[in-house]
């Protein structure tokens, strides 16, 4: 809590991490631009996981429809920056609108479900996620708002004046391709989101969230207005989802309801749970792991099988779900609190050693 001077080793470590993160896209680009894109989507999933972590990890409210807020953000951006309505607002106007709308959606979902807990809440949020997706799928008749299952195409990239995030540009003798520029932007956003999360966690509000997760009755008796604080968790989590959605829309330049299916909600939840609910660093690690794993498999399984057996035996897609399920089962069996559990649990370990 108190301002703490970093030790020399920590400074060196931080500088090394920063340098690695700054150099990463160029290293990846030398392997293939696809990997920069994959990294960008991984960072988007990190943003989503951090948002969901507020709801699930901090406040302990199981939300299975989280991707709906991502959808709200994505469609807000798509509708306000594409030829579809011929509206082309700048991104710094739309992202706050998207976050605001997602936040409103969060409150709309939160308000009627406040009395529900656990499984019941999960079912309702699951339904909510589906409702949003089905809305996007069908809001093309009689007035065409979302263009239905065909989705919205030709979405504007982020642009500041003449500087477009999708075009290639030269700077300091380096070539910055579109994905590389988005990477840096995402890195900045991610840094902000991490700082916000860390600060929230260590605040009056963050403590109230954890108190509700630990024991709702006691939290009430201790004077916490659980209704408002839970709504706040939904609203904050949804806002992060909305921002991530807007960025997704711009990076992909195309949105359709297919991107917001239940599987995606479950994926984000799996990232939070696998990484370690409530621990910001664990959640980040979980999201990176689950985002990169399928891609690594995609690129390694085929050549490996060809080399070993001379032909393809198992489709990488099949293998992916198999490994994914197996990994989750193993995690739940051996590390039920996640790979990197919350600091509270770690503190407990060091305390036992003492």
């Amino acid at each position: 809590m108190k301002g703490r001077v970093l030790s020399r080793r920590e400074v060196i470590g931080l500088v090394a991490i920063a340098a690695a993160l700054l150099a990463l896209p160029f290293v990846l680009a030398s392997v293939g631009t696809a990997w920069v894109r994959i990294t960008n989507f991984a960072v988007l999933f990190v943003l989503l996981s951090l948002g969901l972590n507020i709801v699930v990890g901090f406040a302990g409210l199981l939300d299975l429809g989280y991707i709906a807020f991502y959808a709200v953000g994505a469609y807000t951006y798509a509708l306000l920056a594409s030829p579809h309505f011929n509206v082309h607002l700048p991104f710094w106007v739309i992202l706050p609108i998207g976050a605001g709308l997602a936040c409103t959606a969060g409150v709309i979902l939160g308000a009627p479900t406040l009395r529900l807990r656990g499984d019941y809440l999960a079912i309702v949020t699951l339904g909510f996620g589906e409702i949003v997706r089905i809305f996007m799928n069908n809001l093309s008749n009689p007035v065409n708002i979302t263009n239905g299952p065909k989705g919205i195409t030709l979405i504007d990239p982020f642009r500041i004046g003449d500087f477009s995030f999708s075009a290639r540009s030269e700077l300091f003798g380096l070539t910055f391709s579109g994905p590389i520029k988005y990477y840096y932007l995402l890195l900045v956003v991610l840094l902000c989101v991490i700082v916000i999360n860390l600060r929230l966690q260590d605040s009056r509000i963050g403590r109230a969230w954890v108190a509700i997760r630990e024991d709702e009755i006691a939290a009430k008796a201790a004077g916490i207005n659980t209704r408002n604080i839970k709504l706040l968790a939904f609203a904050m989590g949804a806002s992060f989802g909305g921002i991530a959605g807007g960025m997704f829309s711009a990076i992909q330049a195309f949105v359709s309801p297919e991107s917001f299916i239940l599987n995606e909600s479950i994926m984000v939840l799996a990232m939070v749970v696998l990484g370690g609910m409530g621990n910001i660093w664990g959640v980040i690690a979980g999201a990176l792991l689950l985002s990169f794993m399928p891609e690594v498999l995609r690129y390694s399984v085929e050549p490996m099988q060809k080399a070993l057996f001379g032909r393809m035996l198992v489709d990488p897609e099949v293998l992916r779900m198999l490994i994914f399920g197996f990994a989750l089962v193993l995690t739940m069996r051996f590390r039920p609190a996640g790979l990197w559990p919350e600091t509270r649990h770690r503190r407990e370990m060091s305390e036992n050693r003492r």
């Binding site: 809590m1 916000i196 600060r199 929230l200 605040s203 009056r204 509000i205 963050g206 403590r207 109230a208 954890v210 108190a211 630990e214 024991d215 009755i217 006691a218 939290a219 009430k220 008796a221 201790a222 004077g223 916490i224 207005n225 659980t226 706040l232 904050m236 919350e342 509270r344 649990h345 503190r347 407990e348 305390e351």
Partner: protein, 282 residues
């Protein structure tokens, strides 16, 4: 632990130990007046028009056989259960009982019969949560780490440490609540309740499951709280503790108040003896 409690008791009253917000100058005035509280669960009338008056600065005991309605009354007072009838006047004002946090803000704090702590938070964090109702900083203050927010956080933390010292578990501040011993958990729950600056502290069977030494230490702690001007409502099964500690005692039986007086009178009341021991005429 015994020593620490005694220390806490001995220190109380000195100006620098004023971690509590009791108002000794008002001792003797009515703090809480319940009028005709009724509560029904389905076919069971758990409380039948219970009225009682708690004066400032006293330790008010609530006893009665199992199922007499003690905890129900407690839960009504603290807003956990909605009441069917009656009203509560607290500190001269009609108390809105719709929600526990409103009751906490009004100045009633409670502990639970089966301890309810935030198990995976440290002892200090538990008490810091108790400060919630007396602090204001919201999301934006937290995100921006404003000067006001930092000052408030420091104050919350300082007060939490004071209270942990007051109840005698300062050395356990960084332990997770669920790792504390049973007696220390009881103390932590009291510290968390005190953090909301209550005028009335409601303790639901604080001595349940304690051994003789722990009970003696608890007694010292409760007496220290009273000496610091706090009013205490005590539900307790340990009749010896209640009769020894309380200034006045009310007895509930089948949801009705059958006696309310100083312990000596209550102890001799034939209806109380009947409620506890039966009539012996069957």
């Amino acid at each position: 632990m015994n020593g620490l409690a005694a220390q806490a008791g001995a220190r109380s009253g000195t100006p620098e130990s004023r971690v509590l917000s009791g108002q000794p100058s008002l001792v003797g005035e009515t703090l809480l007046e319940a009028r005709d509280i009724g509560k029904r669960f389905g076919g069971v009338q758990a409380l039948k028009a219970v009225s009682l008056t708690i004066r400032r600065g006293e330790i008010y005991g609530l006893i009665g056989p199992n199922g007499a309605g003690k905890t129900t009354l407690f839960n009504v007072f603290t807003g956990l259960y909605p009441r069917d009838s009656g009203e509560v006047i607290f500190a001269g004002q009609s108390l809105r009982l719709e929600s526990p946090h409103i009751v906490a803000a009004a100045g009633i704090a409670r502990t639970f019969q089966n301890i309810r702590l935030f198990g995976n938070m440290t002892a200090r964090e538990n008490v810091m949560v108790g400060r919630h109702v007396r602090t204001r900083c919201g999301v934006f203050g937290a995100i921006l780490r404003t000067a006001g927010q930092r000052a408030e956080e420091r104050a919350i933390r300082g007060r939490a440490d004071d209270l942990l010292r007051y109840v005698g578990i300062a050395d356990r501040a960084d332990s997770l609540a669920r790792h504390l011993s049973y007696g220390d958990q009881r103390r932590l729950e009291i510290a968390r309740a005190l953090a909301s600056e209550p005028q009335l502290l409601a303790l639901d069977e604080p001595a349940a499951g304690m051994n003789a030494t722990e009970t003696a230490a608890l007694r010292t702690l409760i007496e220290g709280l009273r000496a610091d001007g706090l009013t205490i409502l005590l539900i307790e099964h340990d009749v010896k503790l209640v009769l020894g500690l309380c200034d006045r005692v009310a007895v509930l039986d089948y949801g009705e108040k059958i006696a309310e007086d100083v312990p000596e009178v209550v102890r001799a009341d034939p209806r109380v003896i009947e409620a506890y021991l039966g009539t012996g005429t069957h």
